[in-house]
Symmetry: D2
Subunit: 353 residues, 4 copies
């Protein structure tokens, strides 16, 4: 499958008029010059390492100084805050836990935008609300720079081995420049459309993933109760219309597959709590709850026009999946892999008495 | 993929003691002798035709005489009722709409069991409650014959082209004999385990299919609202963990794929009403609602010991999928393909005002 | 509120033609003659005691001989089986755990119908599928007797104090006769319509009760998290449109009310498992899963015409409530009061880590 | 029931230190001085009229000048914007459609806070996110004034007749002052606790209301299908544990009650779309989606410390109720009363074919 897909052009906003493309072009040619990296957590650190490995000088920062040590030893320059990164690098990747962190890192007192150079390329790989991505894009554009959202699919393992999938939203003309950096860290770099569509694609995939995983768990559980051998049932599903990633690649039933969390007490993998969090973003996005952004205080940043693309799409199964992951968090499954929903739904011999 | 899979042997019941295997063996050797076929509806007729095409003399019956005409013209012998079929053929395939029809055709006044020969092989391809399959198996065994459940996956098209998948439950020793006939009508013949497990596998697959289809529809709908191109979104899902049969083979969004009902106004395919019905079987099976079978009147048929294998498995998404298909039936979608849930969830421009 | 309500007459079946009303009348006049009672469990025993207390001679039986002791000491006559009860009493009350028990007690080898006298009045207070009630009514009518379904609302406490509510289905002409006995055991005796409508009313009430209880628990839990005092929140709900029985009479939050299971570690009350079971009856009833009854073997009992009143009503919240109670059973809540769903949804401090 | 209830004191924040209670006291004594009113929509206009009726001089404004006419004719003074209202009145009531309007009216360029006098009492009766209420409270406090949230229960009718219920959150010492005004417009004024708890109580009530209404509709629908007379079923529920406001006060089945929207083609009442909107607030509140408020741009308003009281409470039925109301909006029910869910779930004779 082609690693790079291109979406429809008609989603591109009219918002590019302030950007100086001469500057932009000169920057994106300048390969192997310094790349900024902000957020050196479980995901960010191996991603930054892969940039170093590909020969890019890295200048990085993180709120926790100890997170920076390893990268410093590998040759990265560590600075105090995002503004200083922006002062030196004209290509910056951010990998942060949630929307407020992204807003802080971009628009805070020591944020990127305080020192960003005209023509810089800012790539945000955090998983956040698409509406926030849009707002950051507008704020960035006002400074004469370019913002792209590029959330990832794949966990810590894929981050380490450089096998992440990046879903990229932003001005199509800048996609090649983003791709140059992202291919150092990922196996697939997919262009999704205007700013925010990278996040949208990520959220959509996660919603369907959650539904498929719970559905597979219910189905395997029911089949076992009806007398089917779990391995055989998995095989039948996988050659039939019930087939899905959760049944054929990440089966939640212990013993059906090797090398997946279900075979290892649901340790590692993608935590239930994290899945619940991503589904919360979805819930907010699918509703009209983001109405808040079109208000006065943010108008000073010029964000008023970008009001959230709120939808009112019914997502009954997505919403119930969200609630089930919340119930699991409340019942002690927060730290287990999200495939442990199989265990949650299964009658516990002891407890079930 | 190997067309024939074998399940665990330990599911086999103890119930074979009365069967005369000498007779059984002599029958299953007797290839190309007459095969009985009961139920010549949309599915049954093309299945029976495929038996004729493979050189088997067919003796058939149906409650609607007009259904028999075409088959008669192709050389099949038509008789009045199931008992007469059983009087002449020692291998019989049944393809009926629901549990009561199966019970009637087997145990009714003119039912198969009134005239079944010792050692006959009775294969039921109807989609029914696994508990009913078990009861028919016990009643059949009492007459010295063998019962197997072999529901199919695949629609009228697959029935015509002989590409059905059969999920077979019953005594493993008889599987080869069943396979001989079923391979004339299907591309995959999968052995699932003891009697009832064929039905169980079918129900499980359908539940996960329903969940996957509604989940895919919600996801595509949400993605489109968030500004993603539907074809691009489908491609991204299909290369990621959201992938499922409904996204990559039977996409519910008009224009994403060719040759599927979404491209044709949701005509043809697998009806919403039928999906709702299959999910009702599931709902009954997943509960303890089949308690009724262990009662006095049925004891005369020796069915008391076979009480339903009822489970109490929680199936929250399966159950909500069921309710959504019911709501659709109530709102005019009964006759459309089950992928029309995409349309149901989407805001109707006119109505949504 | 009037204790006795009358429903619409137009629901009455055409099935009364065989009943000899002369006999019926003579029986129902014969007050204070022997009354039969079958099923002396937690509910049945105090009900039978109340009949004794009102001066009725009681002749009783139960599958567990030890259940009969206490009643025998109070003066009841104990016999071996339902047939012997029917041989002596022409008014019989049954109080049994589930449909199969009712069918066995009525139509089994030692069942009531083997010896029932013409004109007898058979009142079944068990909670079962309305379709089974209808079948029992037809079978009873064939013997020249009358069947009424009269399930109860209220638990062991109400049974002991004679404060049950009876929901009665059956021939309206017989309601007065049934009422004579039922008012000894209950505070409200409500006529609901044709046979089966007593069960239907009971099921409907339980479904709404389950929804209200889970809804109240979610709401109280959310309010507490938002900083509201639980007692105050309950008061506000109870003076507003959120008011329901679960919020104002049986509040699930410990400390809000006295004398309810939430104040006592969710001991006693109405068990989660029992609620799950009643909702399963509902699920079966709301679907078309009861198709089985219209089949051959039962035709010998003349039951074919009474095919289940199956509906295909969407019950999305009812169905999800059912699944939640099943999940609770799987997670160790089976024996707790059904209001413990508050605890199930609440984050457990220890577990939630 | 006492019209005024008091909540727990321990919820009061530490945030009062800047307020000059001397000024506050002097203001709240000054009865019958001018009262400001902002937002003269369907609800606001009759509320303001009731203030006039009780002898309070009213100074008002609305973005739509035509909304002000009627009030002007009744003697109210109309000014251009919220700042001008604040310039003249030290007690102001706001009644606005949603969070962004409230933020604009308070913190916008012509907002209340631009001219608010020290010691003023600002009462917001809009239904908004509790987190926004808290933020407005902090911003108000910074100006030396007092903010209380006081959302209402009851529709246009109750607003006209002065029978609203107010749920009030804010500093307890100020409750008496708020009560003086609110009792002119409502029959019940309930003190709920710290700022935001009025909104919390309102949201909780609406969630349970939505669940109760859908549950009642499912139940009535099922009962009717099972042969029960709807009026009789309502009576039975209302004397049993299924009882709720939707069954006994606002029954959704046409013909069961008079004077409710179900008797009038579901016209009037509380619109489905509005219910969907309120449930969206709930969904956002019950999640962690409001994380956005703790960010840089808002720090200028001193709002950083008040980050949303986000909870992660599972609300499975509340969430499904939300989705059902969304589906209804997508299927043409947006403008009908929320009790029309009965109609939505019921098989349409024509459509259901």
């Amino acid at each position: 499958m082609a690693a790079v897909l291109r979406g429809s052009r008609n989603l591109l906003g009219r918002s590019l008029k302030h950007v100086d493309f001469t500057l932009v072009s000169s920057r994106s040619m300048a390969s192997k010059t310094q790349v900024g990296f902000i957020g050196l957590g479980n995901m960010g650190k191996p991603m930054a390492k892969n940039l170093l490995k590909h020969g890019y000088p890295v200048i990085a920062t993180d709120v926790f100084p100890e997170s920076c040590k390893e990268l410093q030893e590998l040759g990265a320059q560590i600075v105090d805050n995002p503004a200083e990164v922006a002062d030196q690098a004209d290509r910056i990747v951010t990998m942060l836990p949630s929307s407020p962190n992204v807003i802080e890192v971009y628009t805070g007192p020591n944020g990127i935008l305080k020192k960003v150079k005209k023509g810089s390329l800012l790539i945000d790989s955090s998983t956040i609300d698409p509406a926030v991505s849009k707002e950051m894009a507008v704020a960035t554009e006002k400074m004469g720079a370019v913002f792209m959202d590029a959330p990832v699919s794949g966990g810590v393992g894929a981050a380490s081995s450089g096998k992440l999938t990046f879903m990229v939203g932003g001005v199509e003309e800048e996609f090649t420049a983003a791709q140059e950096l992202l291919t150092c860290m990922g196996a697939n770099v997919v262009y999704c459309g205007a700013v925010g569509t990278g996040q949208a694609a990520k959220i959509c995939n996660n919603m369907l993933l959650a539904i498929g995983m719970i559905g597979t768990s219910e189905t395997m559980n029911l089949g076992i109760r009806l007398g089917l051998d779990p391995k055989l049932l998995a095989k039948i599903l996988n050659m039939s219309s019930g087939r899905c990633w959760s049944s054929d690649t990440y089966n939640p039933v212990p013993g059906v597959m090797e090398g997946v969390p279900s075979g290892n007490g649901y340790q590692g993998g993608f935590g239930t709590q994290l899945m619940a969090k991503v589904l919360t973003v979805l819930c907010t996005t699918s509703g009209d709850g983001r109405e808040l952004m079109s208000v006065a205080p943010l108008q000073d940043l010029g964000l008023a026009q970008t009001t959230a693309t709120n939808t009112k799409t019914p997502v009954p199964l997505g919403s119930l999946a969200h609630q089930i992951y919340r119930m699991m968090c409340a019942r002690g499954y927060a730290g287990k892999d999200f495939s442990s929903v199989f265990q949650f739904l299964r009658e516990d011999e002891e407890e079930g008495q």
